[in-house]
Symmetry: C2
Subunit: 213 residues, 2 copies
């Protein structure tokens, strides 16, 4: 298809497609003349992926470029593709201030319970500490039972993530699954958690709500 048709099918403006081509987020089409190229379903698929990472994941385009470079590089193993995606979407927050020690103790309780082994420099460790410190500051630090439930929830989610990656037959599909699951999975898990909350809350506070229809 021509670039105009690719634009219509993907709902991405032609100028944006040309920008993605220049920046290497999108691979070149097959040249049919000095100023024209033919595109195919692989281009459409890549444009949809870029849109999803920007629209659902809220990633800046420079971060999308970095993540997709890892997807496209056959020398980068799956552990590092997953890491690149995870590091791209993880805010580290502040250092936790006066509640940094309390937050660190929470994180240690979690990793001791789950047995997770993780690099000390992982942004997600800093991110978890930062949110936990904020909860302590607000006087709503999770109790040990809640902390361990959340840790087990995260562990189960990650098991699901790895199963999804392992189903793919080739490296490129697996790398894409890692990125999609990591970035869009946050939104999905947050939504599922709310559905579960509503159900558990109705069971715990039955006098407090109308019966489910």
């Amino acid at each position: 298809m021509r670039v105009s048709e690719l634009s219509r099918s993907s709902d991405v403006p032609v100028a944006t497609i040309k920008y993605y081509l220049r920046e290497g987020l999108l691979h070149r089409g097959e040249a049919t003349s000095p100023n024209q190229a033919r595109y195919d379903d692989t281009h459409l698929r890549r444009l949809r992926l870029i849109r999803a990472l920007v629209e659902v994941g809220g990633l800046p385009i420079t971060v999308v470029k970095d993540v997709l470079a890892a997807v496209d590089d056959p020398d980068i193993g799956m552990h590092h593709v997953l890491g690149r995606a995870a590091y791209a979407v993880t805010g580290t927050g502040d250092d936790g201030g006066e509640f940094a020690d309390a937050a660190e103790a929470d994180v240690r309780a979690i990793t001791a319970h789950t047995g997770w082994r993780v690099a000390e420099t992982a942004p997600a460790l800093a991110g978890a500490r930062s949110v936990l410190a904020r909860m302590h500051e607000l006087g709503h630090a999770p109790g040990d039972d809640t902390l361990l439930s959340w840790a087990e929830a995260a562990d189960r989610a990650a098991e699901g993530d790895l199963k999804a990656i392992a189903r793919n037959e080739n490296r490129e599909d697996a790398a894409e699954t890692a990125v999609v699951g990591t970035v869009l999975g946050d939104a999905l898990l947050a939504a599922l958690r709310r559905i579960a909350q509503e159900s558990h809350s109705a069971a715990r506070y039955p006098s407090d709500c109308r019966p489910p229809s």
Copy 2:
């Protein structure tokens, strides 16, 4: 303390504090003269809560106001406080387009597996469908095993949420825990999931990464 001291302690500008007072997000201080009032730790605590909901949760101030109104209203039961917080932070996304039916089948598989009972109008249902439709569009819909792992993860997380709420001795603290856990919990669970991913991924792709230090 005076408003200037409240501002220093909370790191919220005086003009913003006055705006919150006018809008009812913050309760009035004790009047000490026609133009002055004295504030205490309850004001500081509330300002920290507002900051956390805006900075960590990314909520617009109008939504914060609505959620805090539910926290402050003794006639609103815990199920509805939790619902108000959950509905406030949940994007519903688009309707899923041509993949709406596939996404709906995924959601039904999840609720059948978990036994969740939820109102058909819950925004989280629409949100989950929208993300799942996007995954289908991208050719990376989760397999049944992944879907059920994620559902179990969400269920375990919600169990933790309800435990955290139940630990409180009075309604107002419980309501605050519900809001903090719902809004800040998303960021924490996302961070924990990434830590778990890194650990599981290192175990599954050992040749692909250096040994954990």
